[in-house]
């Protein structure tokens, strides 16, 4: 069972902004809390700022304004305290092609005292990866599994996963998410999992953050997001409208907050909630 501690945020951003160059803002005015425990999906289109946000929490980027905290630790100023807390799986994780998989575990044990090598070996075995295999010969899915194994065995309580599913086939995605879910349940971990494909991750997640054009558009537990929204076909005029977007058959759909009293409204799916908020973000950007 997953316990989410809403009072104790694992990840927090306050007024966070990240600017590259003079005026290209990758993130702006981000106020966000990710509670301890469970898996939170960070969803947004390409260039929404998902990777920048995750890298800021990793201490790989310094905020231009505002602050980021990981379990109360400032990643930019206290990297030594951060390292024991956080595990990270980047998009398209790169392994050392010159080394075998087992060598990666040796390296991890060298740089991370307390790295759980037996656990890592067991996990690799469970996904069919041998320590003797050359990293050069691994598929994208296997590389992601090795990277996840390294992060899980590092003893980190918080995992930040930056689009780890992007290179995986559907079967590998499912295996990856199952492994992640087991780890979260077994170790009471907090996971932030970013993706631009909602359907990939939604079944594994407990909460949802929708990021668009560098801003938080929605941050909510999934049950609340589902319970709080309705979809109306075609009608974008009633109260509580979030935004209109195109449905799978090209029909116009409108996402409303549940305050609407439209007679044709039906409960929104999570994908529709996300699409509605992304459309809202795009509209807001256009208006600005």
């Amino acid at each position: 069972m997953i316990v989410r501690d809403e009072t104790h945020p694992a990840l927090r951003a306050t007024g966070l902004g990240k600017r590259y160059g003079r005026d290209r803002w990758a993130l702006r005015d981000i106020d966000l809390s990710v509670p301890s425990g469970g898996i939170t999906a960070l969803v947004g289109p390409n260039a929404a700022g998902k990777s920048t946000l995750i890298r800021t929490w990793m201490g790989f980027e310094r905020p231009s304004v505002g602050s980021a905290r990981v379990d109360g630790v400032d990643p930019a100023r206290q990297p030594g305290r951060l390292s024991g807390l956080v595990g990270y799986v980047p998009q398209s994780p790169a392994l050392y092609p010159e080394l075998r998989v087992g060598d990666h575990l040796r390296l991890a044990a060298l740089v991370r005292p307390g790295f759980d090598t037996p656990r890592a070996l067991a996990r690799l075995g469970s996904v069919g990866i041998e320590p003797q295999q050359s990293a050069r010969a691994l598929s994208g899915g296997q590389r992601a599994q090795v990277a996840l194994t390294l992060a899980l065995a590092s003893g980190a309580r918080i995992l930040l996963l930056d689009e780890p599913l992007a290179d995986l086939d559907p079967l590998a995605r499912r295996e990856f998410l199952r492994a992640l879910r087991q780890a979260v349940v077994g170790d009471a971990m907090t996971v932030l999992l970013s993706s631009h494909v909602v359907s990939d991750i939604i079944e594994a997640c407990d909460a949802l953050i929708v990021l668009g054009v560098g801003r938080v558009l929605l941050a909510s537990p999934i049950r609340d997001a589902l319970a709080g929204h309705l979809v109306v076909r075609g009608d974008a005029t009633t109260s509580g409208l979030v935004a209109s977007f195109l449905g799978p058959d090209g029909e116009e759909l409108a996402l409303h907050r549940r305050t609407t009293d439209h007679v044709d409204a039906r409960p929104a799916t999570l994908e529709e909630v996300v699409l509605g908020y992304l459309a809202f973000g795009r509209q807001a950007q256009r208006d600005a």
Binding site: R55, M58, F60, E61, R62, P79, G80, S83, G84, V86, G87, Y88, V89, P90, S92, P93, A94, L95, Y96, E98, L99, D103, R106, L107, A108, L110, V111, R112, P113, F115, A147, L150, A151, S154
Partner: protein, 301 residues
Amino acid sequence: MRDWVSLAARLQRFEVVTIGIVLLVLLVAVVILTGQMQAMIGADPACFGAASAGGPQCPDVIDAFAGPDQIAEVLLRLVWLTPGIGIILGAPIVAREIESGTAQITWALANSRVRWLIGRSAPAAVAVIVALALLGIAADSLTQARLGGDPPGFIAFDQRGPIVVLRGLLALVLSVVIGMRLGRVLPALMLATVALVLVLAFIGLGIGSWRTSDAAIRPFGRGAVLPGSVVLDVVAVLADGSVVAEDRTDGLPEGSFTDAVLVLEPAQASSWMLREALVLVATSGAVSFAGLWRLSRRRPI
């Protein structure tokens, strides 16, 4: 440490093998040539050295010695290129991690990036020290052989002994830091080469000025300068004992000054080797410190 060595050797196999082969060839050539020259000296000791007695056979012996001596000079000049070992081993250490993306996982795992870098660089540093120490000792023997057993003093001063090792270490440290800054291997190799030339030239200028303050004044003339000395400048000593540059004697009456040279004697060579070594160590230390400070702020992409 054994784990780090084994990992580093695999991660930099190409560089290690290439450098190993080149160094081995150079080392073997130096050792063979030293043996050959020592044998020639041993066969006719009277023909060599500052205090040699000479003899009728000496012109032919010296002629025969000239061939190996020229090769020895070329080999000793090649020692100037050995800091390249430090650059080739050092530049990829961080730059390749950033370029290939492995730094993202490794730095996320590492409890301390500084400890990671020390572990990662230590095998390269040990390799540079061992390889260049062997080469420095061999080059020292070769220089002594060229001089027929006379103490070399300042002859081939920068091409033998501990300075060869320390210059290689400076190259290693500098190229690691530049690789960290650029995050690309090829540009790091090129920039590190340029930067090392500039840093060594700067150190050379500084040491040159420093040496002048330590030089002795010897009258200009045959036999005034001992073999193995280094002449820093030609000067003039005025009647009141003051020393001026030679070009400032224009217009002075004949006999109001004597020509002289500023010289460092061979006996001072070891002291200057120590000073130059300390300057190289201090420079390497400063570059390392700047690099380690920079490392914690470096993005892994």
